[in-house]
């Protein structure tokens, strides 16, 4: 992390100040977003040139005759529609690629639970199965913020953390849940955002690519602590991740 990135103006203006991205789908998303931004900027400038030039020219021109509706309205409209059709098709392909299908079966499973005003993460442990939870059993003070049911053997090895730790280069399948109100799970540097909704379990999947520490924010107004509902995502090299996980699982099994 360079010192320079602390100053707005040092961020690459050709990338419209987008933060660096660290996910597999990010570069394509960024390219498409930048393409959109340049087109919008171009159209805004073009329209303003016409608007300003059209009103400041000194000599009054003839009124545009109505028989020119085709040339003045429909032609630009068709061009405009084609541009946005093209952009929409590109966008839908990217959307379909990340959202239409679920994660691959080998993807790592992590559960994300939003509650006022923390994110809690759960790994299924050695049995690769999450233990049952129940809101009646929630007791944060007793160390069970998710309400994991002690009667369910699958829960015994579950690892619960307050930061999300992921290996670089492996797909992860996130199950998003919310305990109380709607929260917005967002990792801007991984170009991902999805609300966690009470009563629903929503899956998203992604692959972090660059080791580092990234911000996890809440992006859906959820109460007075909304602004401080953030935590860290640590993306580790695969070997470091394996070491971290072993250490955690040992703590739980002891």
């Amino acid at each position: 992390m360079t010192v320079c990135s602390h100053f707005a103006l040092c961020v690459d203006p050709y990338r419209w100040h987008l933060p660096a991205d660290a996910s597999a789908h990010g570069p394509a998303l960024d390219r498409h977003l930048l393409l959109n931004l340049w087109i919008a900027l171009g159209l805004a400038i073009l329209a303003h040139i016409v608007l300003i030039a059209g009103t400041v020219v000194r000599k009054r021109g003839p009124e545009p005759p109505n028989r020119h509706t085709g040339r003045i309205e429909y032609l630009p409209l068709i061009a405009f529609s084609l541009v946005f059709l093209w952009l929409a098709v590109r966008a839908e392909r990217l959307w379909a690629g990340t959202r239409y299908t679920g994660a691959s079966p080998e993807a790592m499973q992590v559960e994300v639970t939003g509650m006022q005003f923390v994110w809690t993460f759960r790994y299924p442990g050695g049995d690769a199965t999450f233990g049952r939870t129940s809101p009646e059993l929630v007791d944060a003070a007793a160390g069970n913020p998710l309400g994991i049911d002690p009667a369910d053997p699958h829960g015994a090895d579950d690892v619960v953390t307050s930061e999300l730790v992921l290996p670089a280069g492996r797909e992860v399948d996130l199950r998003l849940r919310a305990q109380d109100v709607i929260h917005g799970f967002a990792i801007p540097e991984l170009r991902v955002k999805q609300n966690a909704v009470p009563g629903q379990t929503i899956h998203i999947h992604l692959t972090p690519t660059v080791p580092g520490t990234y911000a996890i924010l809440c992006t859906q107004l959820c109460g007075l602590g909304h602004y401080r509902m953030n935590s860290n995502l640590r993306v580790l090299a695969p070997t470091d991740f394996a070491a971290w996980r072993n250490a955690r699982e040992q703590v739980v099994s002891r």
Binding site: L33, L51, P64, A91, M115, C218, L221, G223, S231
Partner: protein, 598 residues
Amino acid sequence: MMTPRSAAELSSRQHPFRKSFLVHALFTTDHRLIGLQYLALAMVAVIIGMVLSLLMRLHLTWPDRVIPLHGPILPEDYLALVTMHGTLMLFFVMTTAPQAGFGNLILPSQIGSRRMAFPMLNALSFWSTALALVVLLASTLVAGGSPISGWTAYPPLSAVAAAGPGQGAGMDLWIASIALFAIAATMSSINTLVTVVRLRCKGMTWSRLPLTVWGWFTAALLSILAFSVLLAAIVLLMCDRHAGTSFFVPTGDLVNGSLHAAGHRGNGSPLLWLHLFWFFGHPEVYIAILPGMGLTSMLLANFARRRVFGYRLMIATTLAIGLLGIMVWGHHMFVAGLNPFAGTAFSISTIAIAIPSAAKVLSWLATTWRSRPSYTTAYLFSLGFASLFLTGGLSGPILAQPILDQYLHNTFFVVAHFHLIMAMAGVFGLFAATYYWFPLVTNRLMSETLGRWHFWLTLLAAYGCFLPMHLTGLMGEPRHYAQLAELPGSAANRLLAPTLPLNMHITISAVILVASQVLFFANLAVSWRRGLIASANPWQATTLEWSPALRAHSHPTSDGDLAPVEAFRRPCHYWSHHNGWHFLPQWDSADTTEPKSE
């Protein structure tokens, strides 16, 4: 000889604030007075809303400053500010002023009528709206203060009193206020629709209706649909809070240690609220802007001395925007738990709505192109409307692509989008309307010098404030954050730190933006009493509200009788001839043939 009646009128003019005059003015069923009442109400709301927004910006930039008589702004205070700001601006300013305010003041005379269809209903709508405002403002006084769940009030945050300060009594008052407002808006739009359908004067065919009237008409159609759904949703929300239902709250919801189960039947879904709310919410933003779009078309043509380019197409695009506007609500829900296939469908309908919107912009460009217009303040604000609308509009199709919205949703990029296209463009429409129609109410002109200063300062400060928000949004700044530094997450602080210099710039622009409005209020106050006397038709306008027959009616003390009104042609009948231009107003019976092709 003086009849007793005119003697009474005379004395009431000498003592305009006698009690009976006040009572008469307050409980009037006269549509112009009701229009002015709505505008006064919107003015109160906009001033409060503006001050609240200023407090938010100052707090974001200088979080440690203490507000005199209040103390530090706590996170819940910040959210109460956001909620009240949004609710005041969207409902009580942007829905009220263009549609009910200028609609009442101007619409009847633009269609050649001297009244609205239902005068009593009209007064009732106004008083319900006024009561709604009082109820909303009262929420600051109850225990817990105003609600903190934003103008969109997503449950369970809005459904469960334990979810936060302000979510108890404050939220109940918010709900009551919005319910009243929705009822009032429904009544008022029924009035508008019936007036346009039934009270058009002779010769005022649908294709001769001014585009402003088309804007009001379409917005009224949308209002009926949108506000009735909002009202239903609000009632369900109230039931969830107080009648033991679970429309929006799932079983086992655990808020702040209390389990939502006992005493509540059923398993509800917060997404149901999002669907109902945005089925209202998206049309609502068009309700706010359609009258302004119509006015912009009319004023640009008026001051450019041109016909509106593609008049029929402009009517068609107004209706198309209205129709598409009810099919796009899902674009607020791409990452809210909507099925991803539905995301694609809503994305396509949303991008489609950009096409009729672009058609309007093209018509404005064609109408003004090489027109050597007369640069009145009203014209400048209409140009400003066009500029802000297109700048804000171009980010719409970007947000309409779900894959991009998955990065941009609920960031300041969205805040920039809707403030440019709705808030600023909408307010510019209101300013244009005020400078333009002021003489109709007061017989005086507003000061053009002050007006120009007001225009340029407002335009520059508006862009200075809202353009950089696109960048802070792209940098990742989320909405609704009470502070942007000293967050618990180290990475969050690092992510948001680069936005701080730009945020400082935004705050300074916001201060200038608010300060510039002093010029407007000063201009209103001074011109009301001392403005230059206006001629009968100071802008060489062609629409009926300036016709002698109807202007006489707007000053009942003068001797104008109820002369019949008739429309003979489309508005904006201007043409150049021998280096000059001429115009024929709608009320002029001179025999010309309507332009045949469109």
